[in-house]
Symmetry: C2
Subunit: 292 residues, 2 copies
Amino acid sequence: MSKPTRGNLFVVGGAEDKERGKLILRRFLDAAGAEAARILVVATASARPEKLLADYESAFRELGASDIHLCYQEQRADAQDPAVIALLRQATGVYFTGGDQLKLVTTLGGTGFASALHDCYRSGLHIGGTSAGASAMSTVMIARGRGRSAPRLASVRLSPGLGILRRVIVDQHFQERDRIGRLMAAVLRNPYMLGFGIDEDTAFIVSPDGRVEVLGRGTLTIVDGAELIGSSIADMKENEPIAFAGMKVHVLGTGWEFQIGSRAITVPHHHHTPASASDLITTSTIPEGDTE
Amino acid sequence: MSKPTRGNLFVVGGAEDKERGKLILRRFLDAAGAEAARILVVATASARPEKLLADYESAFRELGASDIHLCYQEQRADAQDPAVIALLRQATGVYFTGGDQLKLVTTLGGTGFASALHDCYRSGLHIGGTSAGASAMSTVMIARGRGRSAPRLASVRLSPGLGILRRVIVDQHFQERDRIGRLMAAVLRNPYMLGFGIDEDTAFIVSPDGRVEVLGRGTLTIVDGAELIGSSIADMKENEPIAFAGMKVHVLGTGWEFQIGSRAITVPHHHHTPASASDLITTSTIPEGDTE
């Protein structure tokens, strides 16, 4: 018997289309078995789960799924309920809605449900998470943060996440809420971690081999601190600007790929050459002097 | 007779302190000869120059200068006035106020005043420019742009600047107005150009040898596209997100240095080691697997 393969992980930036083409949900459902899929939607992050659950149920139903279960754990005891854990173990795809990632993680973390989630993912369960459900996927999670902030210690509060996605800190609603500063602040705390900022109605899909693909209307911003040559973070107060050198930033769209292990990027063929000349200026017309 | 040396260039992010310690203006005045300096303040960028000119006059006077001239060119003909050009030729330091960089450049560009400015800078005149006066220093200038925008073609409108600072596109009020997206968009148009985003009450000082030093309360963000391995910019519509890979970002504070020619960074000694561990996680406790 061959070793079971992990499932795919769909990390969605929030506000994914649930009414028209449903590109992301369709792709998730296809991975989970299309019409034969057994879907479990988890709205535990939300304070008002009823409408959310109904919306996802009708979206997946419109896409052809018929075996759809909905759940909401109000308290930690609910996440020990064998009936719900059985639903998870039977599912081929589980999808975590938006809400508050701290609510999601504090309710599920360390329960039988979370433990089964890891087991099932290892054996092939496909997992999706959007908005708060996206943030919660990582080992180190952005629990709170300030949008539109330059990198400062106070830009983010980190917390342990559900640990499905390691080596990556996820941020969502990314370009829409201008979160590059806070994602940089998170990566500066430990440049071993990659920062992945995913836009609304956009997903990154992590394959079992660590390959990352981008799907949807927006982009995936990757902040990579592996080549940092210096950082003032350890000496800074909460609200002082952090100085650093050598942070790499990639903004990937449809057709681009990234390997989490090697940090290698695959550029779509037609985008391979960087723009070499603008309408204003070419390298050949500028002398080598720095200034003047 | 030795070859004359260029002056220093002070590029200021706007809102520099003019009332208390006046760190930046003091340093500018010191470069220009301290109490022996002959200062010319140019408020041509501004729509209401009187108050601005008065504020700079009293600031420089409080710092010990006595030879201070103020000018404002309302139209291009004023920038051909030999009397004002003579003032510029006698000055040891000229300082350009804020306002609208397009107004500044369209009034001065191609005039006798602009031509003399280049001559004098080559022979040792120290030049300062703040806010609009900072933007106008570069060869390729950000004329208009959207703050808080992810990189898109529509994020910036470029225009020719006064051409004192080559190979660098300047943006100001930088962290305060979250302008990293538009600066990236400018650099993506031609990765030969460096993007320098300077914060309020902060200056970068360019020495004749291309060495860049940071002075003041905030930071200098440098966007370097030299190692870009791909970009979708040439295929994008005005408002589509640009995808790219390999952009480098540095955020430098007091004590950090940058060389425009070699793009080398000098890290202050105590910040040389990147932060290697956060309070949550260390590299040794995370297995090498990508996800799960």
